[in-house]
């Protein structure tokens, strides 16, 4: 198994025969891998990743989001039903968000959320058997960056892979662009990115740059960001 880390694996590949290993080893398998009898088999095509001490998963390219607990997502409110908001996060079911799950919310003090607004929320409950639940506070009751996103931004839809890439890498298109342009960004694990800049032109430029950077290497991203920044500032 160790020799395939960082390499492309495809469904059906068998990674490790558990019986062979002597002694007790606790191996954690993540998305894309499944325990099939006595071995670990790959179910999605992508690159095998590893984290110490023994966590393995497959990074794959996907457009549709499958909710996972603890993920930070951006949802769009579709309905108000009594005490609960129905929020679309791009998964198979709309998620529910209680009005009490906001910072400083009480029965009398309700959040000012309308149909069509965007929220930055965290998935509290996300398993395959029931509808996902969102919250906009952390376990201490503070909002820590979650909550209603103001109406002045732009919501971008992209693939899950791109979002993971942006979150994983320290230097990516956002940092390169950020050296010259001021902007505010919220990244949701469900493939949605909320972006806000001073002008419409900058927002359009940055959103296009983010989408295109998915298949580019670092140097290419740098070259492209430089081009974008130059044209925004008027040189070209």
């Amino acid at each position: 198994m160790e020799d395939s880390i960082g390499k492309v694996v495809i469904p059906g590949d068998i990674l490790q025969n558990l019986d062979e290993k002597k002694g007790k080893i606790k191996v954690t398998v993540g998305p894309g891998l499944i325990r099939d009898g006595s071995h670990i088999a790959v179910t999605k095509s992508g690159i095998l990743r590893h984290r110490e001490p023994s966590v393995f998963w497959v990074d794959c390219h996907q457009k549709r989001y499958v909710p996972a607990r603890g993920d930070n997502v951006i949802g769009i409110v579709t309905a108000k039903q009594g005490d609960v908001f129905k929020v679309d996060i791009g998964s198979s079911e709309p998620a529910s968000l209680s009005f009490m799950a906001f910072e400083a919310a009480t029965k009398r003090n309700r959040p000012n959320l309308n149909v069509g607004d965007c929220v930055n929320a965290k998935l509290l409950v996300a398993n395959k058997d029931c509808e996902p639940e969102l919250v906009c506070i952390d376990s201490y009751g503070r909002s820590s960056g979650l909550g209603i996103l103001p109406n002045e931004g732009f919501l971008l839809q992209c693939s899950i892979g791109l979002v993971r890439q942006l979150l994983r890498n320290k230097f990516n298109v956002l940092t390169f662009l950020g050296k010259a342009i001021q902007y505010e960004v919220a990244i949701g694990m469900n493939g949605r990115i909320w972006l806000h800049c001073h002008t419409v032109r900058e927002t359009i430029a940055i959103s296009n740059a983010i989408c295109r950077s998915e298949l580019m290497s670092d140097e290419e991203v740098q070259i492209m960001s430089k081009k974008v920044v130059d044209s925004l500032q008027g040189f070209e």
């Binding site: 960082g6 492309v8 919501l155 342009i181 419409v200 296009n208 290419e220």
Partner: protein, 453 residues
């Protein structure tokens, strides 16, 4: 199924951008996205792409009894299918309101404007006439379906050939294609539609709206016009009120645009005819390989052909089973360099063999193990292992062309993501606990472009 909902901030932003005359792909307000017209192998099959909107049209003909009120005229039947493949909000089966709108617009544009001479379709008055049927299927919906369908339909009608007929007294003979050459339809004029999206109570107009722009528009106007400045169809939809001078302005802009598109259709028709005559290849497989969609110049990025290292792969596949079932020792040739070419972000080519359909896999062969990418450096210099098949095996599944493999063909496996994958795989070290693939702290705040996540 529902498409994802439109959020308030998206709507507000798109309207603000349009108020400044800015479009997301950087187009001017009266400019079309790049239009690509491809013809298939069969006569009357046409595939049109406007940006990402894709539509396929097919023309077929049949002999029927004419209508009693019009015994001398043939029949032109149009049908547009909006399948859920194109957009999740389209329903299979029953036609939605939008489907009816597109169908009627196209019927009025082509049938009521008499673009095909129906009297020439008559074989025997009152008894036999040709029925020409145009079926348009929408493959991908990214806005502006009516324009795309109209281009596809009229191009397919101009491309189509019907069998020749001879009438001698009471006898009617329809000649099959190998006896007599098929006859083209008599197209009187080429009517095309131009769609305008209205915003801000008609103060701003856009030509060729994308799906995003269509969702936030007030209403739209579809103008059907031909090159000779004859108006063939006008259709206003949406909850908006228009003034007479707005209508006249739109119609004039449409007249200017239509000339270019008509020329494009004529050009592509000529090229296809020339290719058929001279015996060169034609059909979708050939054309699609040559198409590169227009991409914004600023972000256009042509990647040089890159080689991929698969040396470790070559070593595992040492023997190959040939057509006779004998195991043959193979020589892995590492001298060849492979080509990974990325045409456009998000697409890759599976085979450099441009004759689409020629599969170079041997039956019963051990599958090539994964293409493994080594590299610790960004600059790559590696090779693709190539397999040489010792025997010629015919796999003829395809209706179009017979699929042949020869020992001369080399297999190149390319992954569209190989470049991206290769530079990412070494950075995947730091990840947090249970969430696979990235940090998930929901911090957001102002900053000088700091990445908050």
């Amino acid at each position: 199924m529902k498409d994802h909902p439109l959020s308030n901030c998206e709507e507000k932003f798109v309207l603000a951008a349009i108020a400044e005359n800015r479009r997301f792909d950087g187009r001017g307000v009266y400019i079309y996205r790049p239009i690509v017209i491809l013809y298939g192998h069969d006569r009357g099959c046409c595939h049109v792409q406007i940006g990402c909107t894709r539509v396929l049209a097919q023309v077929s003909c049949e002999v029927i009894i004419p209508k009693q009120t019009r015994p001398n005229e043939g029949v032109l039947h149009m049908n547009v299918e909006l399948s859920p493949m194109a957009c999740p909000s389209f329903e299979a089966g029953k036609q939605s309101d939008y489907g009816v709108e597109v169908n009627r617009a196209l019927e009025r544009l082509l049938r009521d404007s008499l673009c095909i001479d129906l009297e020439s379709l008559c074989i025997m008055s009152g008894e036999k006439v040709w029925q020409i049927r145009v079926d348009v299927h929408v493959l991908n919906h990214d806005g502006n379906l009516i324009d795309c369908s109209s281009i596809a339909a009229i191009a397919a009608l101009s491309h189509f050939r019907r069998p020749d007929v001879t009438v001698s007294g009471e006898e009617v003979t329809i000649h099959p294609l190998d006896e007599k050459d098929a006859v083209p339809l008599s197209v009187n004029h080429i009517p095309l539609s131009v769609t305008f999206a209205f915003f801000d109570q008609g103060r701003t107009l856009l030509v060729d709206p994308t799906d995003q722009e269509e969702r936030v528009m007030d209403g739209k106007m579809v103008v059907g016009i031909n090159k000779h400045r004859e108006l063939c169809m006008l259709h206003v939809s949406g909850k908006m009120l228009v003034l007479q001078d707005q209508v006249v302005r739109c119609v004039n802009i449409a007249a200017a645009r239509v000339g270019e598109i008509t020329d494009l259709i004529k050009d592509t028709l000529e090229k296809d005819n020339a290719a058929r005559k001279s015996g060169k290849e034609f059909g979708f497989a050939k054309c699609l390989a040559d198409v590169i969609l227009g991409v914004d110049d600023l972000l256009k990025h042509y990647v040089d052909s890159m080689s991929v290292d698969t040396t470790s792969v070559g070593q595992t596949a040492k023997t190959v089973v040939d057509a006779d079932g004998n195991r043959v020792q193979m020589e892995v040739d590492n001298a060849e360099t492979g080509n990974v070419s990325i045409k456009v972000p998000g697409t890759g080519k599976m085979s450099t063999n441009t004759e689409g359909g020629a599969v170079t896999w041997c039956e019963g062969e051990e599958s090539d193990s994964d293409v493994i990418l080594l590299d610790k450096n960004d600059s790559t210099s590696s090779e693709v292992s190539s397999k040489q098949v010792s025997a010629v095996v015919e796999l003829s599944d395809s209706e179009e062309e017979s699929v042949l493999m020869t020992s001369q063909d080399l297999e190149r496996t390319e992954l569209s993501k190989s470049r991206a994958i290769e530079t990412r795989e070494n950075r995947g070290g730091r990840c947090r606990g249970k969430s696979f693939g990235g940090r998930n702290r929901g911090k957001r705040g102002r900053g000088n472009g700091q990445r908050y996540f």
